[in-house]
Structures are given as C-alpha cells and as structure tokens.
Amino acid sequence: MNEKLYLEDEENLGTQVDENYEQVYCRPDTLTDIPFHYCPGCGHSVVHRVLMEVIAELGIQEETIGIAPVGCSVFAYNYMNIDMQEAAHGRASAVATGVKRVLPDKYVFSYQGDGDLAAIGTAETIHTVNRGENILMLFINNGIYGMTGGQMAPTSLIGQVTSTSPYGRDAAQVGSPIKIADMLCLLPGAYYVTRQIVHNPGGVRKLKKALIKAFEYQKQKKGTCFVEVVSNCPSGWKMTPVETIKYIEEQMLPMYPLGDLKVPKN
C-alpha cells in the first residue's frame, strides 16, 4: 500500500502511520463520499454501511442494482455507489421484480422501512415473496414513520406513543403490531427469513453474515431472502440514541425476537 495512512481515532486523529502498515479497514468504495443525512444514532446509517461493505467484500458492486424506498432512506441512492432506482412508497419490491426479471443474472435488493413495506406496500411485499423473486428484501423495522414525523406504523408496539397514537397504540382501535417476517415465512417463495439488529457490534457482525448469505442464495436462484433489521429512530421515538438501545432490548425484542425464522433446507 503506497497511500499515506492516518489514524482516525479521537486521540491520535491525523497521525500519520508508518507506511509499512497495511490498511485492513476503510470506507468501502461502494459508499459515495456524500455524508449521510440521518439523525445521530439512527439505524439506517449502520445498515447502509454494512450492506455496502458486504457488496464491496463480495465484489459485486458492478452487478448489483438497488431499489430505494420512500421514507427516511429515500436518498439511499446518493450514498450507495451502485446503480439504483427510486420507487414510489410501498412499491419497491414490484420495481425490484421488474428489474430482476429483465436482468436475472444481476443481484437485486430492495430497501424499505416498515411503513413502506408493511403498510402501503403490503400487497407488493406478500406477492413478491410468494413468487419467490430472487431478490434480497431488506426491511428496516423501526416501529415508526420516521420521515413524516413519527406517526404510528403497522409495527408500532401496543401502547407506543406516536404523533398519531398520542394516547398509545390501542389494539382495539388500530390492530396489533404486524410481524411481517413471520407471516412471510408461510410462503413457499420465502427461502431465507431472518431478523437482526444493528445497535451493538455483535448484532452488526451477525447482520453482515446474514446479508452475505442472502446474496449467495440469490446467486443460486432459490427464492426470496428477507432480512429484517430491528432498528431505532431516536427522533421519532423522542429518545437519545442511548435510550433507544434500552428500548429496543426491553420493548422491541420481546415482540420481534432475533434470529433466523426460516432457513434453507439442505
């Protein structure tokens, strides 16, 4: 490596490193250098990073097409340095189907929030998985509509206070949280369904592994891989990033337990 390297940690920021050092960790070139617009502590940032790391490590940047949602990650295509299409609210998996059907040998993923995937786009979600489209559906479940200012989502918890459930979500009025990943497991087209987190390093490593698996399965053309990430929304939840970690662990994970929900049979 000829490039000059500098330390990036707070104490030694900018210190030049001996040129004999080998750089083993850096910003993947699958990310553009545009700074994320996400709120501090938001799960979208980490998921973007992990997803792009996986694409870089698998060496599939040139063969991957992503579909961005409507929601806080609407600008995903600005950050992800791969060919991308922006979809209407809820329609990402239909758009992904269109892309994948005409480019069957490329890797295609859709990236959606809970409002997008589990409310307005429920029909598209179910039928895409039911057809077993050979795509990766990445589902960021933060239990709220982040972008539009913290309204209730289909995945909001019972009693959760949001701007449209100001007295707490009441199941008798608006139904219970939808476990969309569990529902999708029932469909034969679902090949691999898993639920992961990004609020701790162990979780991030597991998500990475899950995403690598999902892309590998996609190559085998066996069906839809659905990766849910239970994520946080400090702004929508009106919490500090640190408080959101506790909330995820104490409130969200009992409702949305982690781990593989459906794995390929050997």
């Binding site: 097409i65 922006e86 329609r91 269109g98 892309v99 059907r101 005409v102 039928h127």
Partner: protein, 367 residues
C-alpha cells in the same frame, strides 16, 4: 412521425387485443407486466399462451397482483433499459396513474395500452371514450404528459405498438395507446408488422450495474430542492414542446368540406359513414381524425376553421375532446358536440341527424 414499419405481408383475422399482443411480440418487447380486466384480458392471455411455445422469444410475461404492481414492474424494467409494456382498461389505468407519474418524471420509455370501458367507477365493460381527459391531461399528479395515440382499427392496434415504442424511446416518455372495448374485441383483417423491424436503442442511463468507467446510474423522480425540481420541470416542458412536432391526424374529404366532423378512435369510424350519408344528400361534410390526441393537432384544426361553417365533435363521452377543438378554433366557428356515454355507441344516422339540425339552426340564425 417516421415512416411506417415493414409489414409481414401476411394477413390475419384477429381481435384488436390479439393484434396488439402479437405486435408486441414482433416489436421484440423484453417484458410485459399486466393484470386481467375486461375488455382487454386477451392481451395477457395471448402473451401467456404464445410466448412460452415460441422458443425464439425471450420475453418476460408476468401476471402481477394488481395494476399498481404491474406499472411499478414496468417502471423497474424500463429503468433497467428494457423495452416493456403493460395494458389495462379504465379502472386499472386509474390505479396505474401513480406509477405513470413516476415514470414520466424519471423519463423512462414504456408503452401502456388502455382499452377504455364505460365509467366512472366500476362502470361497464362496454366501449367508451370517457378516459380522454385522464389520458391527455395528465391523469396522475404533477406537470407531465403521456404521448397518446388513438387507433381506429385493428390494424392500428398493431401498428401503434411499433409507433408507440419508437416515440417512447425517442423521447424517453411513456406512450399510451388509447383504444376502447370495441376496438379491443372486434375482429378485422390485419397485416402484422415484421419481426425484427424495430431495432433496440441504447440506454446508457439504465441501471444495469455500475461499470468501472462510469458513475452509478440513478433512476429517480425525487428532486427535493425546489430550484432543481423547477429545472426538471422546465426540461420536461421543453420535451413536450419538441413532442408537438409529432402531431398526426387523418383527413377525409376535407378539401371542399363546409362542415367538419371531428372524432378520434372508434367514433371516427362511425363518422366515416356519416360523411358518406351526408354527401349522398349533397351536404359537404368532411372528417378530421386526430391520431395523436397528445400532442393535439391544434394548428391544422385552426386552419380548417377558415373554411367550414361549423364543427361537430363526436365522442363516446360527455364531451371531453370538444374542449380541445374549441381551444384550436379560438371561437372562430361554432363547435358543437354529440356524444353517448356508459358504453352506448352513436349510429351514423344519430350523427347525421344532429349535423342537419345544427346546420338548419345555424342557417336560421344567419337569415
């Protein structure tokens, strides 16, 4: 528009919907996404039947879960550089408006056939021209236009697939074939366009996977900064201005016409007979048929207003295109309207009767 594509020479008796589907195969479409609705289900039926048994054809044909999904599949495939189409009928086309607005904004080529039925609402499965406003004035949200071709025969149902893709790809804009339930269902002789006579155009902007020697391609309709959004809109408007040069129309016996019938699609077929009936009676009637209803042939209609006593617009709706005719003639001559709705079809005699009564009343006023 460019000269007509090559014809196979082989004549077939086909339904309009089948002719459209067969032409799509011959136009070498990469994909068709659709959802059944009467009176156009033969399109998807024909494609799901024919494509698998014709080994040389690689077209993707997929029955989607809804029109919302099918138009978004079209969007995805078009963004990936494919030649792609869908078809539907009125209620289904309403569901597609969201997607069409996105496709128009993202400037992607695609073809949409609307085999119109009577509405509003669930309406009836009989033919109508009630979707003229929706087709020509936008339909979805925002400042955009489709290029809209209005066939009047089964032959044109096939031909306009080729013309439609040429225009869509030239302008990177969705094109609609605005037909109706009668044209979709009736059988006529058709000489099909020759396979392979519509070469594919290159799409360097398409999302086919970022290569090393280019930036990543992004297909989007999101321009959050108002300045940028305005620029995008201005560029779209420039495109629509350029599209005005694609105006197409047909004139029948207009040279000496003193009265002009104006009608598109199926109505114009009925009007041809009225012209004959009127001429037999010594009334000099001509027929003007817009083939492109967007862009609309305003200029030629304006010219014709110098020679005729009045115009009579004939439509299978409550009077929609008549507004464009009035716009064209700028009040120089009276523009009258006759129409029927809800799947009812005018007879040539109905039109002649209306024409004679207007003729009489105009002359009375003049005395």
């Amino acid at each position: 528009m460019e000269n007509k594509e090559k014809k196979s020479g082989e004549a077939r008796l086909m339904k309009g919907n089948e002719a459209l589907a067969e032409a799509a195969i011959r136009a070498d479409i990469d994909a068709y996404f659709g959802y059944p609705i009467t009176p156009q289900s033969e399109v998807i039926e024909y494609l799901t039947r024919e494509v698998p048994i014709r080994k040389e054809i690689k077209t993707v044909v997929l029955q989607a879960e809804s029109e919302v999904a099918s138009i978004n599949m079209v969007y995805g495939a078009a963004g990936a550089g494919a030649r792609v189409m869908t078809s539907s009928s009125s209620p289904g086309i309403s569901l597609m408006q969201e997607g069409l607005s996105y496709i128009a904004s993202a400037q992607l080529p695609c073809l949409v056939a609307n085999v119109v039925r009577g509405g509003p609402g669930l309406g009836t499965i009989q033919p109508s021209q009630g979707d003229y406003f929706q087709a020509t004035k936008g339909g979805g949200h925002g400042d955009y236009h489709l290029i809209v071709l209005a066939p009047a025969s089964v032959q044109e149902m096939a031909d306009f697939v080729f013309d439609g893709f040429k225009l869509a790809e030239k302008y990177r804009n969705p094109v609609m074939i605005l037909s109706d339930g009668a044209l979709g269902q009736m059988m006529e002789k058709v000489i099909l366009p020759e396979e392979g006579s519509l070469p594919k155009t290159s799409a360097p902007w398409a999302t086919t996977g970022k290569t090393k020697n280019r930036e990543h391609n992004v297909i989007t309709s999101l321009f959050i900064q108002p300045e940028e959004m305005e620029q995008v809109n201005l560029r779209l408007q420039e495109k629509y201005e350029a599209i005005q040069s694609e105006v197409r129309y047909e004139e029948i016996q207009t040279e000496d016409a003193e009265i002009l019938l104006v009608a598109f699609g199926l109505s114009s077929r009925i009007c041809q007979k009225t012209v004959d009936l009127a001429r037999e009676k010594g009334i000099k009637v001509g027929l003007f048929r817009p083939i492109t209803v967007y862009p609309y042939p305003y200029a030629r209609l304006k010219e014709l207003s110098n020679q005729v006593e009045f115009m009579l617009t004939v439509e299978m709706n409550a009077g929609q295109m008549v507004e464009d005719v009035r716009l064209a003639v700028e009040g120089k001559v009276p523009v009258h309207f006759i129409g029927r709705m809800g799947g009812m079809i005018l007879s040539p005699e109905d039109i002649l009767h209306k024409l004679e009564s207007v003729h009489e009343s105009q002359n009375t006023v003049n005395v």
